[in-house]
Each structure stands twice: as C-alpha cells, then as structure tokens.
C-alpha cells in the first residue's frame, strides 16, 4: 500500500499554520521583505533559500517576534501576531550561532525554557532527559557548551529549542557551522527528529543542497520576494524562472526566439543553426524571446552524430574531472558555451574524449525547460 503523499498545500480545505499576508519590512530605505504573501502548513519542513540579503532571515525573525512587519499581517494558527513579544509566542528558534548560554551546562541550557514556563521540577527533569535521549546527548548533560564538539553543540541547540514542544521551530542556518560530512549526517537527523516530533520546521539556508535534502517545500527568495515555492523535485525539474533555474544546481541557459511546433516550440538560438525543440505546457507567442534551461546531466555527449532531434556539434574547451562525474565545457558554433555531464562509470584511461575534440551534444524534447525570463 502506498503511503499517502504529504501535500497539505495542494488541499484547499487545509488550514495553514502560518500566514504571511502582504508583509513588507523596511529598514530605513532598504526593503527587506516586499509585499510577501505565503502560507506554511502544519508539519511541513519549509525551507527559505536564497543568497545573503534576500530577506530570508528577516522573515524568520518576524516569525520569532524579533522584528515587526512594517506593513501587513503575520498569523500563526489563525492568530494575528502583531504586538506579541517573542517570549509569549509558541515559536522557538535555533540560532545560527547556537547561542548556547556559556555559563550553563547542557542540561541547564535545555531546561532553561521549561523553567521560565514554571513547569514542576520533576517534569522538567523528565523532559530534559527525553530531549537528551532524542538528540543522543545523555553522556554530555553536565558538560558546559565549550566542552563539547561543534556537532554536539548543534544538537544541544536543537534540543533546547524543541524542549518546550513549540508549534513551530525556526532554524537559522542550523548546519552552517558544521563541516561537509557532519552536515550531511545531521540533515538526516533533522528530518528524523522533525518526523518524530511532528513539529513544523521553517529553515533558513543559503545551501541549496541542504534545502533540497531536508525540505518538503522550498521557497527560493531574491531581494525580498519569493521567486518560487515548490517541492525540491519541482524546483529542480521545473523552475519557473531563469533566476531559480540558475540558483539551484548547474544549468545551461540558452536564449532564443520561440516558434510553435508540435507539442512545444522550436527555439531559434543562433544564426544558421537548426533550432532546438522543447515541449512545454506554457504558451509563447511567435517570435517571443525565451530561454531554454537544461541541466548538464541531461545533455549527452558523443563522438558520432546521434539521432535525437536536439543535437549540435561543438569543440571541447575544458574538462572538469570531479571523480564520480566529468563535466565537459563545449563551445558551440557562434561561441555559446554549453556544459554536458557524464557519470564516470569507466576508468579514466578508457574514456575517449579529450580537449579540442569535436563532439556532438544531444538531449530529448522534454529535457529543456522553456522560460520567459
């Protein structure tokens, strides 16, 4: 039996947990958030992704109550949060710096929020134990923050912010301070904990791989606006703009003009060259300027002319050998550069392609996404 797909955003009857309604935030002349409207649903793992300064941290700090919107409304569980101070919100935050209290032990840090709630001592101890178990920190309960490793500190910060069982947990670049290996491992732990506790997570990150791994939905932000909100797969396969396509992963962007043809369009991209064909649901008028976005791994490279409709000949300018993959930078007629990626399933010496080789690039009709800009 297949598990039901978790997609509350697709269900019109579902009530959102968080609602941004026309929220604008200005710092002096600087517009950090520009008239933003967005719903986030209970139990989602929602990622805010964007370059630094795009407004993602401001959005999170408005949810926590450290910033107030200049205009618009933020609702949590239907309640308008205007005027509710951070200490009165059922929202907790995991800080980028972790912000562990240096003068308190791990257990005291975790118990800190519970004590403020006025929870009885026995219950606090139980809850702290539970959180220590959840984050596998039992052995470090009595240590001070500086006596444990970076990864452990990260888990203390998580335990502390989860201890009060908030409706909503905000994570500000939670893994930014960890090294690459530990980060991957911790991503899965985060997802695991999110699933176990059923808490709604909103995570801020500039690392697209992290967002893709952990999130149920990703919001790609730029200059105070959300460019696209979708599942990781949709964001990657069907970006809605050149900005999103370019921001997520590696991509070839080819500019051209559209002519309707079959189930899609032919895109003329260079004088005297055969147009590329792409299937799409979107409609373009004749001769409209458009962009083709193609992931390098969807572009095949070969020495013999392939049969595919989309094929073009070029010269290898550069080869980036990444171990498991190789990326070929190929110069097309007219100087356009295009990247093609192949998995290195064979030994290095057996591969035939090298610099200056004339090669064919090809891809299917559905490989390229047509974008307006």
């Amino acid at each position: 039996m297949a598990e039901p797909v978790f997609a509350p955003w697709a269900d019109p009857n579902e009530k959102p947990l968080i609602q941004f309604k026309g929220v604008t935030k200005r710092f002096g002349d600087f517009v950090a958030i520009d008239n933003l409207t967005q719903d986030i649903f209970a139990q989602e793992f929602f990622a805010l992704l964007g370059p630094s300064g795009c407004g993602k941290t401001t959005m999170m700090r408005m949810l926590a109550g450290f910033e107030t919107p200049t205009e618009g409304q933020i609702l949590i569980a239907g309640q308008d949060m205007a005027g509710v101070p951070p200490n009165k919100r059922a929202v907790n935050m995991m800080f980028q710096s972790y912000a562990l209290f240096p003068h308190l032990s791990v257990a005291e840090n975790i118990a800190f929020g519970l004590k403020r709630e006025g929870m009885p001592k026995g219950n606090i101890d139980d809850r702290v134990k539970e959180m220590l178990r959840l984050t596998r920190l039992e052995r470090f309960a009595q240590r001070k923050p500086h006596q444990i490793s970076g990864g452990q500190r990260q888990r203390v910060a998580l335990a502390r912010s989860l201890a009060k069982a908030p409706k909503l947990l905000l994570l500000d670049e939670p893994l930014g301070a960890l090294d690459a290996k530990l980060r991957q491992q911790t991503q899965f732990e985060l997802m695991d904990i999110q699933e176990k506790t059923g808490t709604t997570f909103v995570i801020v990150t500039h690392d697209q791989e992290e967002a893709m791994t952990v999130a149920s939905r990703v919001a790609v932000m730029d200059e105070g606006r959300i460019m696209q909100v979708a599942t990781p797969a949709e964001i990657y396969e069907q970006p809605n703009s050149v900005y999103v396509a370019d921001f997520i992963g590696d991509v070839n962007i080819i500019e051209g003009t559209a002519t309707p043809e079959g189930k899609g369009y032919d895109v003329a991209w260079a004088e005297g060259q055969r147009p590329f064909h792409a299937e799409t649901d979107k409609s373009f008028s004749k001769d409209q300027r458009c962009f083709l976005a193609m992931r390098p791994e969807k572009v095949a490279i070969s020495t013999d002319e392939p049969e595919a409709r989309n094929r073009v000949q070029g010269k290898i300018i550069d080869i980036a050998y990444l171990g498991n993959l190789s990326t070929y930078h190929v110069e097309l007629p007219g100087g356009t550069m295009m990247k093609a990626q192949t998995a290195n399933t064979r030994r290095l010496s057996r591969r035939a392609l090298t610099w200056e080789d004339q090669v064919w690039l090809s891809w299917t009709d559905t490989a390229a996404v047509m974008l307006e800009g």
Partner: protein, 271 residues
C-alpha cells in the same frame, strides 16, 4: 618570529627600572630608623608603630574606605545602566548629550570637576562631608565603569539574549539570567577601577570634603607638602603592598576567569 634585539632589552630594563626604582626606594626607606629620610641609619619598623598610633591617619583611612566602597558600588550600578543605554538603547532624544556626559568626565581636569561640584553643593545648601565626597566620586567613577562595561557589551553576542527571550524570558529576566552572568568579569573590574579611583582621589575630595570628613589622600597631601616624612613612607609602603597583592591576585583570578569565559563563549558561538 619577532626579532627581539639588544636595544629592546635595554629599553625594557631601563623602562621598568624607571617605573619601579622610585617606589622600591620609598619602601626601603620606610624601614630606616633615622628621622632624616635621606640617611640610612639601620633597619627599623618604628615608623609603622608610630603610624598605627596616629589617630588622624586612621580616621582618614576609615573615611576613605567607606567612601570608596559606597561610591564604587553605586557607580557600578549606574555605570552598568549607562553602558546598557549606550550600547543597547538605540536612538533617543538627548542621546548625544548623554554620551557626551559619559565621556567628558574622563578627560575633564579634576580641578574643574571638583570646583563645579563644590559650587553645586554650596548652592543647594548641602553640608560637605562623607555624603558629598560619595556623590562626587560616584559621578566621575560611573563614567569609567560605563566605559569598561560597554566595551564588553559591544562584543557580547546579542543572539544569546534573543535566545533567552525566545525561550520565554521577559527582557529583565534575560538580563539577569544571561547577560549579567556573562558580563560579570567586566562589571567586577569596573567596580575595582571605581574603588581605586576613589581611594586615590585627592583633588575632587579636597573640594568636596568638609571639616567633618577628611580622606587619606588629603591627609597625606598636607603632610608631604611640608617635605618627606618617614611616617608617610611607611604609609605609602603599606598602600603599595596592598595594591600589589590585590592587583596580582585579581589579575590571576580574572585571567583564569576571562580565559574560561572567552573559551566558553567562543565555543558556544562558533563550532
């Protein structure tokens, strides 16, 4: 590797000799049995004995200590508040005047501070005595405290306070439970600074002290104006001794504490 030359060694030796020889000589001559302070006539602790018989000095010392304890304590509270205002309060009407009033006493000649406070006390009809010295000392030492504390607050990671708020603290609880314990070393050194400034002060105390209360520096000053005296040598030696022991212990303790604190905070902030 830095190059430490012979020239550097000579500068250090001469420099520290210059800084410490005069005090060393003072200490040695306090054990001179002769009344003539420049002629060595054998070892004796007689001046210490006489000093302890001198009620006027003992009274003045007692006044000085009381003034220093009270004024440095009030100054620490006010100075810490002022530091919070400077670093945290953001913009408010009269901010420039406020920070001006914090920094001005640090560079204001003592004669002017003393004179102005005296004229105020006379103007409002406040009798000069222990109270007026305390008010005067509190006023200028709170500025020193606020400079010391605010330099610590500037490097304080605000997200620690935000975390406390996020976990349910009121702003005051966040200060008491998180900020204060972490900036405590700076607050303590602010207190120590205020305490020593008060112990040392001659000029402002001369203006604000009345006949009912005289501090030790005033007593010493009027005695040494007449020339070098072996009793003052003995008194100076005692004071140098107390300060030396105090500073060395305090610096050892605070060195350990700040090292730990720094390690803790940095560890907490960075991975």
């Amino acid at each position: 590797m830095k190059r430490f030359s012979a020239f550097n060694a000579v500068s250090l030796t001469l420099g520290f000799a210059f800084l410490y020889l005069p005090m060393l000589i003072l200490v040695i001559y306090s054990f001179n049995s002769s009344k003539l302070v420049t002629v060595w006539a054998g070892f004796s602790t007689r001046w210490y004995g006489e000093l302890l018989q001198n009620e006027a000095f003992l009274d003045a010392a007692w006044v000085t200590i009381r003034v220093a304890v009270v004024s440095s304590t009030i100054a620490t509270v006010l100075g810490t508040m002022a530091a919070l205002v400077l670093v945290r309060a953001g913009r408010f009407a009269g901010r420039t005047l406020f920070s001006g009033m914090i920094y001005a006493p640090l560079v204001m000649p003592e004669v002017i501070t003393g004179l102005s406070l005296l004229l105020l006390f006379i103007g409002i009809g406040l009798d000069r005595g222990v109270l007026t010295i305390i008010l005067a000392h509190t006023t200028f030492s709170m500025c020193y405290v606020s400079v010391v504390v605010s330099s610590r607050l500037v490097s304080f990671d605000r997200s620690l306070e935000e975390a406390a708020l996020d976990l349910g603290c009121t702003p005051f609880q966040a200060f008491r439970l998180v900020t204060l314990p972490i900036i405590a070393p700076a607050v303590i050194s602010g207190w120590l600074l205020a305490f020593t400034l008060s112990l040392d002060d001659l000029v402002i105390a001369s203006f604000t002290a009345g006949p009912s209360a005289t501090t030790l520096p005033i007593k010493i000053f009027s005695a040494v104006r007449l020339g070098v005296s072996p009793e003052i040598n003995a008194l100076s030696t005692i004071m140098i001794g107390i300060v030396t022991v105090g500073v060395i212990t305090a610096s050892l303790i605070s060195k350990r504490a700040t090292l730990r604190q720094q390690a803790e905070e940095q560890a907490a902030i960075r991975a």
